[in-house]
């Protein structure tokens, strides 16, 4: 998780939104509880929207399916 946090900070520093989508999704998949997972999924979704990333719809569907969007 420390490595993931470092990669996230690095992606933020580079404003690499495509990487942020993947990294926040990875963080969601590693989370121990639903709220934490949805927190990270939300970030993945927002950066996907921002970047016009093709994953945006799937991330929305995932959050919507969990009652979070």
């Amino acid at each position: 998780m420390a490595d993931l946090a470092r990669r996230l900070l690095d992606a933020h520093a580079r404003d690499d939104r495509k990487a942020l989508v993947a990294l926040y999704e990875e963080a969601a998949n590693c989370a121990n509880d639903l709220d934490a997972a949805c927190f990270y999924l939300t970030h993945a979704w927002v950066f996907a929207l921002d970047a016009g990333h093709s994953a945006a719809d799937a991330l929305y569907d995932r959050l919507h399916g969990l009652g979070r969007a």
């Binding site: 639903l34 709220d35 934490a36 997972a37 949805c38 927190f39 999924l41 939300t42 970030h43 979704w45 927002v46 996907a48 929207l49 921002d50 970047a51 016009g52 990333h53 945006a56 959050l63 979070r68 969007a69």
Partner: protein, 381 residues
């Protein structure tokens, strides 16, 4: 009492041109009057903001300041040019501080609320708490970006800030009909066909100077060699526009006598005809057989105007050297006008100046504009 004096002065402006005075000094020098005029003349009418070429591709977004308002000019993903208030509906944060391409959504840099390029609110992250992206109190359907009514004509983006103006086609039906022959695709010449002049003058003085041909032989002696005063005529549509026309428009010729392609289907009138009209309040237009131009006046302050000049052609591609030569020609002409616009602005600090007088023969297009200003100011109360 001051109000009475002001109304009397506006009555004097509205007299027939032979006996009328010009607008009083305060209309050029007083910051409070500038703000009042902004409401009466620029926000409640169809004011020019930009041209479509400022946002040539879908997703292009340009923040603009108009009369202190933060606006966002954007071409949405469907290709439609729109104008929004450049603020998030959440905390009023400015959304887009620099021109850029919106790749996906417009994301607020504060709490990341996201909007589509058409203004729809699409995401409110964590609005219901961490990981909860909805809340009953936040209805996304009612919280889209605030769109400013806009209309595109001759590739100029006009806006009606307060939403009270009748439809553009109704307000400007007369000029649309007058120039129906010129209702053809206009192709912006690109980066070499646009320039900005920063002028220390009130925006109305730029309009006034553009309206009339009286000054041409004195301020533009080069132009006078082929476009003499007697070859010009006045154009006046009270309440809407005024300007001048020429009977001796000459096409620009290159080293091998090449010319720009003509707009198709023009009648005989335009072989040597050209018309130059100030469309009230702040757009100066020119039409000719082979190119057109638009000048959008940005009223920065009571004594400061930015003139955004754009040249348009009849075909998507034109000769680069010819375009540069043409842009230089027009830039020279418009730069020659700066001295008189700034000189009149300085002159408006002379105490007791009565607004001046008009030549009934030569200045009636300028008086037509003053009359429109006075009429709207009287109506504004």
């Amino acid at each position: 009492m001051a109000k009475d004096i002001e109304l009397d002065a506006l009555d004097a402006v509205r007299r027939p041109v032979a006996s009328a005075n010009g607008l009083p000094n305060a209309h050029y020098t007083d910051p409070d009057m500038f703000r009042t005029e902004a409401q009466a003349l620029l926000m409640s009418t169809w004011a020019g903001l930009a041209v479509t070429a400022d946002v040539p591709e879908p997703g292009d977004a340009v923040p603009m300041d108009f009369l202190g308002m933060p606006l966002l000019l954007i071409r949405d993903k469907q290709g439609e040019v729109r104008v929004f208030q450049n603020i998030c509906r959440h905390r009023g944060m400015m959304l887009v501080p620099e021109p850029r391409k919106i790749e996906g959504a417009i994301r607020c840099p504060y709490h990341s609320w996201c909007y589509s390029t058409a203004g729809r609110l699409v995401s409110t992250p964590h609005v219901g708490g961490p990981g909860h992206n909805t809340h009953d109190a936040i209805d996304k359907d009612t919280l889209g970006l605030i769109e400013v009514p806009s209309h595109i004509w001759r590739e100029v983006v006009f806006i009606n800030v307060d939403g009270t103006a009748p439809p553009f086609e109704e307000v400007h039906a007369d000029l649309i009909a007058r120039w129906a022959e010129h209702d053809k695709p206009l192709y912006h010449g690109g980066a070499d066909s646009t320039f900005v002049l920063d002028v220390r003058t009130n925006w109305k003085l730029a309009v006034e100077n553009y309206c009339e041909s009286y000054h041409l032989p004195w301020v533009h002696p080069g132009l006078n060699s082929y476009s003499r005063l007697e070859d010009h005529y006045n154009i006046e549509a009270p309440g809407h526009y005024s300007g001048q026309g020429t009977l001796v428009y000459r096409q620009l010729r290159g080293v091998n006598e090449e010319v720009f392609p003509d707009f198709e289907g023009l009648s005989e009138k335009w072989v040597e005809g050209g018309e130059y009209v100030a469309l009230y309040p702040n757009v100066l237009l020119g039409v000719q057989r082979d190119h057109a131009f638009a000048i959008v006046l940005d009223p920065v302050a009571q004594d400061h105007t930015r003139e955004h000049i754009h040249l348009f052609y009849a075909t998507p591609r034109t000769d680069e050297g010819m375009r540069a030569k043409n842009a230089t020609l027009w830039k020279t002409v418009f730069e020659e006008d700066i001295g008189v616009c700034e000189g009149m602005q300085r002159g408006r600090s002379a105490p007791g100046f009565d607004g001046g007088r008009f030549s009934p023969a030569m200045d009636s297009p300028t008086h037509c504009f003053h009359d429109w200003v006075a009429m709207r100011m009287q109506g504004h109360g």
